[in-house]
């Protein structure tokens, strides 16, 4: 279980995240939403020890992530950030193989090979496994990165805006895969999302941030309604039900 206790991060005098405490529920998708500059990405980066918090702590199984050995932590928590900017020429298979790095330091055992193979099949990458990343489309590349994280086989998968620069089809594809990871493999996914409707349709829990503070935190149903959304976004957002999905119609809203 991941517990976040009183995390604060300041850049200069300006607090980006201030005194955030929450618990990530296991075996579920939790989405971080909120306006620009709310501190979503910074919070995610602190949870995954990419940046240090000024105060507060993140506990994984009741132990501060900073006191985890980094190679052990890499077997429990993975994080994917704006990975589309990677300029290393690796094939899809090589990239996915590096997901096993925490276990084998790059010398793959037959067991590692199995994980790699499974991850590639899971993400439907078999046909393009020998292509270089720079020959792929944005959606294929994102799938390759997620395959790497699957091969890394961590309980917790943290993703920072994985739908950036993806078209509708690929976005839906990625979100469905994340849903499968939770439902079929029992993973815990934490994701920063910009599009509130993806958060509404696919996540189990939503954490809404604003000015570095948690303003709402609960099951998706409790957050996706006009009152809560007004508090988060300062907008009047009607919510309509469509095929069992709650869709926020914010495109022509009056503030």
């Amino acid at each position: 279980m991941i517990e976040i206790k009183g995390l604060t991060k300041k850049y200069g005098n300006k607090p980006v995240v201030s005194d955030v405490s929450l618990t990530i529920r296991p075996h579920a998708i939790t989405s971080f939403i909120g306006p620009n500059g709310a501190g979503k990405s910074t919070l995610l980066s602190m949870v995954s020890r990419l940046i240090d918090a000024d105060t507060g702590e993140v506990l994984l199984d009741n132990k501060n992530v900073k006191s985890w050995k980094s190679s052990e932590l890499a077997k429990r928590v993975s994080i994917l950030k704006q990975s589309n900017f990677l300029n290393v020429r690796l094939t899809v298979r090589e990239l996915v193989s590096f997901g096993r790095y925490p276990y084998s330091k790059g010398r793959l055992t037959p067991e590692d090979e199995q994980y790699v193979e499974k991850a590639i099949e899971y993400m439907n990458l078999k046909e393009i496994e020998d292509k270089y990343l720079d020959q792929l489309s944005g959606g294929q590349r994102q799938r390759a990165f997620i395959a790497m994280v699957i091969a890394q086989d961590t309980d917790y998968i943290l993703l920072d805006e994985p739908l950036n620069n993806l078209d509708m089809k690929h976005s839906v594809q990625i979100m469905k895969i994340l849903r499968q990871l939770v439902d079929e493999l029992g993973k815990t996914v934490v994701i920063v999302l910009h599009d509130i409707n993806f958060a509404s349709v696919y996540s189990d829990y939503i954490v809404a941030l604003k000015n570095g503070k948690v303003v709402k935190n609960g099951p998706t149903d409790e957050i996706i309604n006009s009152e809560a959304l007004r508090e988060i976004y300062d907008m009047n957002i009607p919510v309509q039900e469509q095929n069992g999905c709650r869709i926020c119609v914010y495109f022509n809203s009056h503030t």
């Binding site: 020890r49 932590l73 993975s78 290393v88 690796l90 790095y101 925490p102 790059g106």
Partner: protein, 317 residues
Amino acid sequence: MRLWVLILAAIILSFISLFIGAIDIKPADLLDWDSQQAQIFLISRVPRLLAIILAGAGMSIAGLIMQSLSRNKFVSPTTAGTLDAAKLGILISILLFSQAAYMQKIIFSFVFAFAGTILFMQILDRIKFKDPVFVPLIGIMYGNILSSITTFFAYEGDLIQNINTWLMGSFMLIISGRYELLYVSVPAIILAYLYANKFTVAGMGEDFAKNLGLSYKAVLNLGLILVAIISTTVVLTVGVIPYLGLIVPNIVSIYMGDNLRKTIPHTIVLGVVFLLICDIIGRVVVYPYEIPVNVTVAVIGSLLFLIMLFRGRAYAK
């Protein structure tokens, strides 16, 4: 390209390199071990070949490590001030100790090459504008600044001629007893191969490396230490060989990608082949005299570099 093709080319070129020069030596001459030809062969030709192999492999690997760690295809000992810093280190050791021992030169040159490269990496971290073509331009300017400091103090201390021997990369003066320092780069190259996976992971960026549980800073420092060791040994024995660490890893990257465990053997052999070709050309065009290798490398290398710049803008990003 297959590895064995490259190795075969390297062997043929090595053979040619052993048997050209002002004094005519034929393989048959070597049968008589006491002949003058055999002596020249052992004292001059063989050391020269070994020096070329070690320097070619070393500089190519140094470039490969730098490109991986800086995540920029155009960073190399030439385009990041490493070689200029090493030169400055040598000058300062000469200025401080009027009769600088070899060891003092080595240490100063190493420390300066290491610190100079780290400083450049710090500058890279800080600049916002990261066009891949822009970065080597900054590096070349930075190297020229270091170089001008060297020239100024060398002028003041009447050491211009002394320092110019470091500036001009050449295998002309390599004889047995004057190149052995280059062997220090052998363990550095082996270490680079053993750590190849770590360098590849570090080359995916700090966040990526941390995600996979790699101690990024430690790998970065190790990489830069290897680069400094290799650069120092080459500058002190052969002199500055420009472009080698830039061209060779890029050619390999184009046809093999950036998985260092796979590319390091190719990079080593291609580096040797490239430097052998340049050295042989330099020895043949004005025969029986010769052109220093840094000139032929610079001519061929800058041409290839320009082609890479124009063709490879998209690839480098």
